[in-house]
């Protein structure tokens, strides 16, 4: 129950601000009622689309990061599909990717720490030997 998903959807550009808020709050209540958790909501604003979608050239992008089960996403996508202003959506699972990135970061940090300690020791030794020879 700790899968993290990123749900990006595009809303038609002529949608009013309060309607967007209403839609997002509907989705949020759906998330919390199913036992999930909304991590973040990011409105990316109006963007030009790379191709025409349902005869629109622009769209308002919204990014929703959600933590929950697969059934929750099923429910969210069902809602988005019937919602008329939403013209496109994409869900990506990001917890595995995040785990991999954290692991790499941990390895890099550990490597940096261990390389810092011998470097200090080597610095001291190098400082001593030239002085001894000189």
């Amino acid at each position: 129950m700790n899968r993290t998903y990123e749900l990006m959807f595009i809303v038609r550009p002529d949608m009013a601000e309060e309607d967007q808020d209403k839609l997002i709050s509907t989705l949020e209540t759906a998330v919390t009622s199913t036992g999930g958790q909304v991590k973040s909501v990011e409105r990316m604003g109006k963007r030009h689309l790379a191709y025409m979608v349902r005869r629109f050239r622009d769209g308002i992008y919204v990014l929703l990061t959600v933590e929950g089960s697969g059934g929750l996403i099923h429910e969210l996508e069902r809602r988005l599909r019937v919602t008329e202003p939403v013209i496109k959506f994409l869900t990506v699972r990001i917890d595995e990717e995040q785990k991999r990135l954290d692991k790499i970061k941990a390895i890099r940090d550990a490597r940096r720490k261990t390389s810092a300690a011998p470097a200090a020791v080597a610095g001291e030794a190098a400082g001593e030997t030239p002085a001894a020879t000189a």
Binding site: A50, Y51, V53, L63
Partner: protein, 130 residues
Amino acid sequence: MADENAPTATASAEIPSRPERPAGDRPDRGERPDRGGRSFRPGGPGGGRGEGGPGGRKYFRRKKVCKFCVEKIEAINYKDIRLLAQFVAESGKIVPRRLTGVCTPHQRRLSTAIKQARNIALLPFAGRAS
């Protein structure tokens, strides 16, 4: 006299089955192996990448390195289209890794990210990226 010669001269140049034809008129089948080795087959003479000295081929391809490995970019997200657009051709196609020098695991992730971006209308399927 001049009128008689002129038509026959042009006729002999046009009829392809004539045995005597100047070298310049020959079809470029003879020229293509020379030209094709340079531009049409990048894998062949580009194999001079591994050779140390000139083994008959004067030119070589400089070593292509994977941009992601060098700059240690781990996360290839579908959202940063500026990064992704570097690996997409003018026509919108994904550029093969033998041209960009990307290593295989990164090319796979890059390809998935580009396809995700295409699905969410951040990159086009075909045509110039606006």
